[in-house]
């Protein structure tokens, strides 16, 4: 009887080898590109459009097959790191610019500078300057093509504001005006804003009302933070001011969205991904809302952050073909179709200028928001951000808001801890 078992084991092993062999021989004749995208883009209408892009591209390149796979944010990174380690990278893939340095470290991204320079000037001019800068850490290096992105928006619940006696026809022009409105909302018995000290990106969004890209981010030459202590002290003071006015939930919590929908929260500083939820609520339960720019300290200055997603190309034997595909999907025509379908902002400025695209309100506001916003973790692709960094910023902001430090002390402490963190 044990011989039967041994037979079965041998057969199974042989079968496995045969199947593995079949798979690898099939791949040798055609080229198959693996294409990884964000999970949103691999569902519904977005997936349909991506598949059309694929069809158009493969029609011009016979013998090429492209497999599209969607993944959530962290999973993209984990999968790409694992793929790099085992030599099984996807050929074309998306991720956020902020994990760029890590991916370069594991050699997941090819330097496509030469291929880029070989493209015609009118193609290269299509891209938003700031987004492109994010992909070009040093001269002669280009590690990605910027794709989608966002600028932070300020969603306003008009019902709540009107109940608090605020004129909603003009958005608040400065921080002080905005703070006044928040206080009025609180007096009317409602929450003004989420607790912005809970996550790194919302702290950055408020910092941007006083600071800008140069006074945020990293100095990789001497491994220090670029955060300005005076500006940070001012910003920490803002968090202290907002303590009695906030809902206790973060801008990403479901509860925050629910408060907004049920007319208990006035302002929501967040990216455009909540818009589908609010649109739905506007249709079904009468939510009245709009989105405007986050006001900065002076009139004309805006707060909020911007962050771009990128398309990367893996080094290897399919690099040229992969770059051609990446160039195709990031080109103006495709990006305009993409923007129109999803009503979302992306990094192709020429596509954004397309009249049909710029007529969409969310896109128009997003373009302005992104221009005035602060890069959330620049400069990219130079050094990998250690995870002590974000935690220190969050902890010190919360501690100061709790009253454990004065804003000046908190800022000083934060910066010295950040420098220690980066020095390691």
């Amino acid at each position: 009887m044990k011989t039967i078992i041994r037979h079965c084991a041998r057969l199974a092993g042989a079968a496995a080898l045969i199947v593995a062999g079949m798979i690898s021989t099939a791949a040798a004749e055609d080229v198959t590109l693996e294409y990884w995208v964000y999970s949103d883009f691999a569902q519904g209408d977005a997936l349909a459009l991506q598949q059309e892009f694929i069809k158009e591209f493969t029609a011009k390149h016979p013998g090429v097959k492209i497999n599209i796979t969607g993944k959530g944010d962290d999973d993209l990174t984990a999968g790409q790191v694992a793929g790099a380690v085992s030599g099984n990278l996807p050929d074309v893939f998306m991720n956020s610019q902020s994990v760029g340095a890590e991916l370069v470290k594991v050699k997941a991204l090819a330097n496509i500078y030469d291929k880029w320079m070989a493209m015609p000037e009118e193609y290269r001019a299509q891209f938003d300057k700031d987004a492109l800068e994010g992909c070009m850490a040093k001269p002669g290096e280009l590690y990605c093509l910027p794709y989608t992105g966002f600028g932070s928006l300020l969603f306003r619940n008009l019902t709540v504001l009107q109940k608090a006696g605020i004129d909603t026809s003009k958005p608040p022009a400065t921080w002080d005006e905005w703070l006044e409105q928040m206080k009025k909302v609180k007096q009317a018995g409602m929450y003004a804003i989420p607790d912005e000290t809970l996550i790194f990106n919302s702290i950055a969004e408020i910092y941007a009302t006083s600071g800008n890209t140069k006074s945020w981010g990293f100095n990789w030459d001497n491994h220090t933070t670029r955060i300005d202590p005076k500006i940070m002290a001012k910003v920490l003071g803002k968090f202290v001011d907002m303590v009695p006015l906030n809902s206790g939930t973060s801008r990403n919590d479901q509860a925050t969205k629910d408060l907004f929908i049920s007319n208990q929260l006035a302002f929501h500083t967040v990216g455009p991904w909540v818009n589908p939820t609010y649109e739905q609520a506007a249709k079904n339960s009468g939510l009245k809302y709009d989105f405007v720019l986050i006001p900065g300290d002076e009139p004309g200055k805006t707060g909020g952050i911007r962050s771009y997603e990128m398309v990367g190309v893996a080094p290897g034997k399919h690099e040229d073909l992969a770059f051609q595909f990446a160039a195709f999907i990031t080109e103006k025509t495709q990006m305009a179709r993409w923007a129109k379908l999803l009503a979302r902002y992306n990094a192709n400025a020429a596509a954004m200028a397309d009249p049909e695209v710029s007529a969409l309100p969310l896109i128009k506001t997003s373009v302005d928001a992104a221009h005035g916003a602060m890069d959330v973790a620049a400069p990219y692709f130079v050094g990998a951000v250690p995870n002590c960094y974000n935690s220190i910023v969050i902890d010190m902001a919360s501690a100061t808001a709790d009253g454990e430090y004065t804003p000046e002390e908190g800022a000083k402490q934060m910066i010295s801890e950040l420098n220690d963190c980066l020095a390691k």
């Binding site: 509860a255 929908i261 609520a281 079904n284």
Partner: protein, 282 residues
Amino acid sequence: MSQNGAGPVSVWKILKWVVALLVAAIAIFPIWWMINVVFALPGEPVSLNPRLWPTSLSAGIANIHMIFAQTEFLRAYGISVAYALLTIAGVLVFGSLAAFEFSLFEFPGRRVLFGFVLLSLMVPSAVTIIPAYLLTSQLGWLNTMQGLVVPGIASAFGLFMLVQFMRAIPKDMIEAARLDGANHFQIYWHVALPLSRNAVVTLAILTFIQTWGNYMWPLIVGSNAEMYTVSQVVGLFNSPLSHHTVDTVMTANLLAAIPPLVFFLIFQRKIIQGIAMSGTKG
């Protein structure tokens, strides 16, 4: 201690019922909440003032229909079921063969080998996952069913549990079978396996639940969309910055939770007995 409470209704009895029902409510409530989020009109706040009952059957059905239409959920069901069943088959066969030996017989090296297996329970899986992944990749098994299944077959927990149970098999039955002329494998097949049926069924169910919920391993081994397990398809919805509305997210999660729930309800009698009996041998 099942004493017949046939006496008059005492304070204790009322208290007992109140506590029991309260705890049951705490245990079940989150599941009930999730169902109500799925079967609610879109655009309603869901995390505040939890719905105590579903408000819209049709919205829920529309959600479910959309998920099936827009994602490859059915295919993921198929892959997860295949993954689970193949793993169960492997774990039961390989594990019971080995457990039979470790529990009932002496041979050189028995203690040492068994000790190694037990030790592996104490090493966090995060340590072994990357080297195991690299080996799987070198075998060419990425994005294949065998890559998902084979590395999980030698389950230390399964071996441990079956050993606990098989220890209770009376040695004289083994002897009797041997005297009847049965060879080694026949003793395993005709004596030990039938007597361990409860443990085997239990292990099958536990392996199902564990395989169904497995996230990290399928993520890196089954990274292409055609090999997505249910946990990965659901993971597409759970990203906090996705553009999905919460009722869609909850629908995906509900659809993922149904098979283990159904499996459990069907086999719950077997589970309860099985887990229990392996425990008493500790």
